[in-house]
């Protein structure tokens, strides 16, 4: 996943990448040239007492350093460009893909998971891209170049490199292979500790009501001890890492002087070459170390890449028509014809053979227990989902043939969970119709029983609303969501359980105010309370995806056992109606 993703999304920046390779190559070559020049200073200058030569080569070294710095900086520029552009493109691709998803894909992944994938996961992969752009190019060049240069200085001593590098690899590998799982356990235990704290804080009333403080403290202490124990273990491996690497390096340095000394004595090697060799060895070991750290990042980024790829490889189950219908003759007609919906692989259908028709001025109500398929049915109308059987027609046209923009322009949806966008009360209300006047907003607020509290807000319509609408209470949020749909003046209203969060009196007032506005519109209400839906022209009682009862309130009260049961649980009995 990861290599493919890097290849795909970095390929537009091939030019920059080639520049990086070129620049890094030059920079690394310059860096590798420095010890060699220094060796020349010692062997040809110092050892022969030639001061002019020392100064001359010093000048060359200075120039080489400047070239090295310039190239590194330039490659940081290109690397930053390429990696960040990579992140931008990948993020856009993920976001675009999620935007095309239907309600089904969103709920399969879960909104929080999709958010994490589009943000943190992309960031992880982008970080790796950055590392690859900068260090990924430099490390191999430095390693191979270092070995070549070391061999050039003295072939006879190069066996030391062949011994030390694998030893270092093994040492780092041993520590890392123990440290990484230990740190994974640490992360898991941190999550445990945090979970318990979170539980204690969110459940503080229950903890106190049941006098469970001692047990909670003991539970936390256990978890805290577990965390401390494994953190100490992981930390000790971590503490070993650096000294171990440095120890190997130091031993290698001593080795170079000892074996090199013999070669110098026998005249096979010059003293300057010895010093240069030492520098090369250090550079090789440095690159090995950096390489290991980079490799450590790969597993994490791979996980993220796989999670992103999952999103990118998922196709939306709702595909717009190739030749969409862009105009219709009627308005507010809704026909559900023998609609069924079965998720792929699922045993039981979510909806089975549901039919009804609604015309402007009519109210259709859906009632039934949770999981009966009410929300699913509502979602079929704006094509947030597609039915697997039967047809949903809006204004006489199969919704799959309609232009989505046209379809949506006809619909005002109030979802089950009222969601407000960050902005102000006004921007939220205008979400579906940007040119609505303030008067229209107030009118909608009046109907939604929200005018009073909006007026009480410090700056009325311009009061800021936090993301998700967390700054207003649940009931207020619901009423604002209803007002938002009203501002749109749609032909079809879909109220998905929009009234349950309201108290009974508000619910009643709201519905009374709603009646004149929806006189010319088609209304579909999903409800829990009998009171909410009893005036509907048609009530459908859903159970396990099937319509088990249909009729008006009075009809259902007379002969539908399921409806009677629901009514009874709300204290409404047949006698009462009769009376």
């Amino acid at each position: 996943m990861l290599p493919r993703m890097l290849r795909t999304y970095l390929s537009p920046y091939k030019g920059w990448l080639s520049a990086i390779v070129l620049l890094q190559f030059t920079a690394t070559a310059a860096m590798l040239y420095l010890p060699s020049l220094n060796a020349d200073i010692i062997d040809k200058g110092v050892a022969r007492g030639d001061t002019d030569y020392v100064v001359k080569i010093g000048g060359v070294m200075l120039a080489v350093s400047l070239v090295q710095a310039a190239c590194s900086m330039a490659s940081a520029w290109f690397g930053g460009q390429a990696a960040m552009a990579f992140g931008r493109d990948l993020r856009k691709a993920v976001f675009g893909r999620v935007g095309s998803f239907s309600a089904r894909e969103v709920s399969t992944f879960g909104a929080p998971s999709l958010i994490t994938r589009a943000t943190n996961d992309v960031q992880q992969v982008q970080m790796l891209a950055m590392m690859v752009c900068l260090m990924g190019v430099m490390i191999p060049i430095m390693m191979i170049g270092g070995v070549i240069m070391a061999m050039r200085e003295d072939l006879g001593l190069s066996w030391l490199v062949l011994v030390v590098v694998p030893v270092l690899f093994v040492c780092i590998g041993l520590v890392v292979s123990r440290m990484v799982p230990a740190f994974q356990t640490v992360q898991a235990r941190i999550d445990d500790v945090n979970r318990i704290l979170r539980e204690q804080i969110t459940g503080i009333r229950v903890v106190r009501a049941f006098v469970r403080e001692p047990q909670e403290t003991a539970r936390f202490a256990r978890s805290n001890d577990d965390l401390t124990e494994v953190s100490i273990r992981a930390g000790r491996w971590m503490a070993l890492m650096f000294p171990l690497v440095m120890g190997v390096t130091n031993v290698a340095m001593v080795g170079v002087i000892w074996f090199g000394g013999h070669r110098v004595d026998s005249g096979e090697m010059e003293v300057g070459a010895l010093t240069a060799f030492l520098s090369y060895l250090m550079q090789i070991l440095m690159s090995v170390m950096m390489g290991t750290f980079m490799l450590m990042m790969i597993p994490r980024a791979s996980v993220s890449a796989a999670r992103i790829a999952e999103v990118l490889d998922t196709d939306s189950s709702v595909v717009p028509s190739d030749r969409p219908v862009t105009s219709v003759d009627v308005a507010g007609h809704l026909d559900i014809e023998g609609v069924g919906l079965t998720y792929p692989g699922a045993e039981a259908p979510v909806l089975r053979d549901v039919s009804f028709s609604a015309r402007p001025g009519q109210t259709i109500a859906l009632i039934g227990s949770t999981g009966a398929g009410k929300t699913t049915l509502v979602n079929l109308v704006p094509r947030l989902l597609d039915a697997t059987e039967g047809v949903v027609r809006v204004d006489g046209v199969d919704v799959r043939e309609l232009d989505p923009e046209l379809l949506w322009s006809k619909i005002g949806l109030v979802p089950q969970r009222a969601f407000l966008f960050s902005g102000t009360v006004a921007t939220n209300l205008r979400y579906g119709r940007e040119d609505a006047t303030d008067d229209e907003l107030w009118a909608a607020l009046e109907i939604a029983q929200a005018a009073d509290f909006v007026r009480d807000m410090p700056v009325g319509l311009d009061t800021p609303v936090a993301q998700g609408g967390t700054t207003v209470s649940g009931g207020q949020r619901q009423r604002l969501a209803i007002a938002r749909a009203l501002v749109r003046r749609p032909e079809i209203y879909l109220f998905d359980d929009a009234f349950s969060a309201l108290d009974v009196a508000t619910d009643a007032r709201l519905r009374a105010a709603l009646a004149p506005v929806t006189r010319d519109a088609t209304v579909v209400i999903v409800g829990q309370r009998i009171a909410t839906i009893r005036d509907a022209d048609l009530i459908l009682v859903l159970e396990d995806g099937e319509v088990v009862g249909r009729g008006t309130h009075d009809e259902l009260m007379a002969d539908d056992p399921t409806y009677q049961e629901i009514a009874a649980s709300q204290g409404i009995t047949t006698e009462e109606v009769v009376a």
Partner: protein, 665 residues
């Protein structure tokens, strides 16, 4: 009451939303309000481990000393090799048995005064090769010192780790303790996310920072001192030259760090903005589509994405300049040392080994300086996090808050199971969360043993507050509440609460098995007692359909249980606790109708023979109540039985009409 300071939001750029912890989430660019005091207090936390902290210091000095002496010894070994090498070369041009003086004389006679100077500086015997005994001796010492130094360094890291983990462990448990001592009003005032972030992210951040600063800052500081000392020891002249690079390095890194930090803050801000947009677009996915906003949402995203790209590029680029610049400074140093050192070797005033050592020192010198510079940011963020944790720890505690110990709780539970008649009286009770907004004023009522008291009224009328006062979750402003004639403030909170069972609307379950959750109120309950409670409250029915029965784990989101099932478990929990007094906050409408029926039956079972306070949302469920309190704006506006209240044709009758009559239209 928490002091106002806790409410003050410190300047912080936290990634908005975005669940999970990315490497970039939060924590950067934060400043502590009172750096000095908080830092001192943070250091004070290490006091219990001061023995080991002192050991860390000694070990640090030891390891740095050996790391610093190493290159010098290695240089001596190189000298020995070099001297042997030169000696052999010189010896080839001289007759056997010639001395160093002869060699110098020979050089001078050739007019090569440079070579003569050079030879004068060497301790050579012409003709004799490398003295390998001496080299071996030196290298062996070097090896021992190096290895010993690394071992000391390892021990230092080991101890630092132990000290930090112990300190953080203590900090965590202090915070947890504190949570149980804080008044509920504290939790009401703090946004929950903010508080959770304090107890989780901030402590984690402190842990990470302590670890890094304690090990690296100390080592880096010692290193700077040690290396500097050795440089002056080896060659004061070269040391002075090398020192010139320090201010240059400090200045450039400082400047770049400053620039890059503001760029990073900018990057985080943009990240937060973009993540907010993503979160909103995905959470409101259906609305975005149906309200025809897809295009504008995508346009907004593209714009923010482009801005993020620009700002993160700038941040990455500027911070990417640090390494090459530091390398340049290092290389300049290297060149100067090579040239000046080379010149001095040829003039015989310095040995080649010293130059080699010096080159290594100059490399060892720039790294800790860069590290110290970057540590400043880390330290800032760590102290800012510590400060927020301290603010929590300093928040005012509940009056006479004694954290309940196990013995206490057991005694309280025993007391609770004794005869409690269950008579509750409110006498002139006044209470408000906020002094400026009076809520409950001068409220009096009596609930006789075994009675069912129903509380009805619109949202915000103070129904929940009323029952919270019985639990003594809050302290009264005036008046008193008695249970069986005893003022509830005269018994411990543990004892009071042990007598009361509570079912809250918010169905909080903890992560554990269903059995554990039911036994929450009585951990010593037998299996049979759990089953009896479960059967009485209809939990048994659905538990049997779950794969692992009572051992089914309730997960965090509770996705394997419906809202109704969760509520039933909370009822079973209260049932098992066998309280003398019950408080029920009835479930709302989001439960499906069948479960709703079960819930009502279960609650009825629970109420039998007990004094109960029921917050009712559906009037049909309280027909049998002995007393109905109708609350509006914190006052009881009506009270009486169902029939009486209907007859009175007041607030209750209006509520009733709204609920039972057909729509008002």
């Amino acid at each position: 009451m928490s002091d106002s300071k806790t409410m003050k939001t410190t300047e912080r750029i936290v990634q908005q939303g975005g669940p999970g912890r990315g490497p970039m989430s939060g924590m950067v660019g934060q400043k502590a309000d009172n750096f000095g005091a908080s830092a001192r207090r943070l250091v004070g936390l290490l006091r219990p481990a001061r023995g080991r902290a002192f050991a860390v210091l000694l070990l640090g000095i030891g390891s740095v000393a050996s790391v610093v002496v190493g290159p010098w010894l290695l240089g001596k070994a190189t000298d020995a090799v070099f001297t042997g090498f030169v000696g052999k070369q010189v010896g080839e041009q001289l007759p056997p048995g010639a001395t160093k003086t002869d060699a110098i004389a020979a050089a001078e006679s050739r007019g090569d005064s440079q070579l003569a100077d050079f030879l004068r500086g060497l301790d050579l015997v012409p003709g004799q090769g490398v003295d390998f005994d001496k080299v071996a001796h030196l290298l062996l010492i070097t090896l021992l010192i190096y290895v010993g130094g690394q071992v000391l360094g390892w021990l230092q890291g080991w101890f630092v780790n132990d000290v930090v983990q112990a300190t953080v462990r203590k900090m965590r448990s202090d915070v947890e303790d504190k949570v149980h001592r804080l008044p509920l009003s504290y939790f009401d005032k703090q946004p929950r996310g903010e508080l959770l972030s304090r107890v989780t992210n901030d402590i984690d951040n402190v842990a990470q920072n302590l670890q890094q600063t304690m090990s690296q800052l100390l080592t880096s500081l010692l290193m700077v001192v040690g290396v500097l000392g050795m440089m002056f020891w080896v060659s004061p002249l070269l040391a002075l030259i090398a020192l010139i690079s320090v201010p240059i390095a400090m200045f450039t890194t400082g400047r770049i760090m400053k620039r890059s930090q503001s760029q990073f803050i900018n990057q985080w801000r943009q990240t937060g903005k973009l993540n907010g947009q993503v979160e909103e677009a995905i959470s409101g996915h259906a609305l975005v589509s149906v309200f025809g906003r897809r295009e504008s949402v995508e346009a907004g995203f593209d714009e923010a994405n482009e801005e993020l790209y620009q700002s993160s590029f700038r941040a990455q680029f500027i911070s990417g300049l640090v390494m090459p610049l530091m390398m340049l400074v290092g290389n300049l140093n290297y060149v100067i040392i090579a040239v000046v050192g080379g010149l001095r070797v040829t003039s015989g005033t310095m040995s080649i080994g010293d130059v080699q050592a010096f080159i290594q020192y100059s490399r060892m010198f720039s790294q800790p300086i860069t590290q110290i510079a970057s540590m400043a940011n880390l330290l800032q963020s760590g102290v800012a996090s510590a400060e927020r944790v301290f603010e929590l720890l300093d928040a005012e505690e509940e009056t006479d808050a004694s954290v309940v110990d196990t013995v206490d709780a057991a005694r309280a539970a025993a007391a609770a199971r004794e005869e409690t008649r269950g008579e509750v009286a409110f006498e002139g009770v006044s209470f408000s969360y906020d002094p400026d907004e009076p809520l409950i004023e001068d409220l009096s009522l009596v609930a006789h043993p075994g009675e069912m008291v129903a509380i009805v009224g619109p949202t915000g009328a103070g129904k929940t507050t009323l029952v919270n006062l019985i639990m003594r979750f809050y302290e009264l402003n005036a008046g008193r509440i008695t249970l069986d004639g005893t003022d509830i403030t005269d018994v411990s909170r543990a004892e009071l609460r042990s007598r009361i069972g509570m079912v809250l609307q918010d169905t909080w379950l903890f992560e554990g098995t269903i059995r554990d959750n039911i036994a929450y109120g009585r951990p010593d309950a037998t299996e049979e007692e759990v089953r009896v409670a479960a059967r009485a409250t209809y939990v048994d029915r659905f538990v049997h359909s779950l794969p692992d029965g009572y051992d089914t784990r309730v997960d965090d989101e509770g996705s394997n249980l419906s809202a109704g099932e969760r509520q039933l478990i909370t009822i079973a929990r209260a049932f098992l606790a066998q309280p003398a007094l019950l408080i029920l906050d009835e479930a709302t409408s989001s439960v499906d109708t069948r479960t709703e029926l079960l819930l009502q039956h279960a609650m009825a079972a629970l109420r039998t023979d007990r004094t109960s306070f029921v917050i009712a949302h559906r009037l049909s469920t309280i027909r049998d109540a002995d007393l109905i309190l109708v609350m509006e704006n914190g006052r009881i506006v009506e009270q009486g039985s169902h029939a009486e209240l209907l007859e009175r044709d007041g607030a209750f009758a209006r509520l009733h009409a709204a609920q039972f009559a057909a729509a008002v239209s």
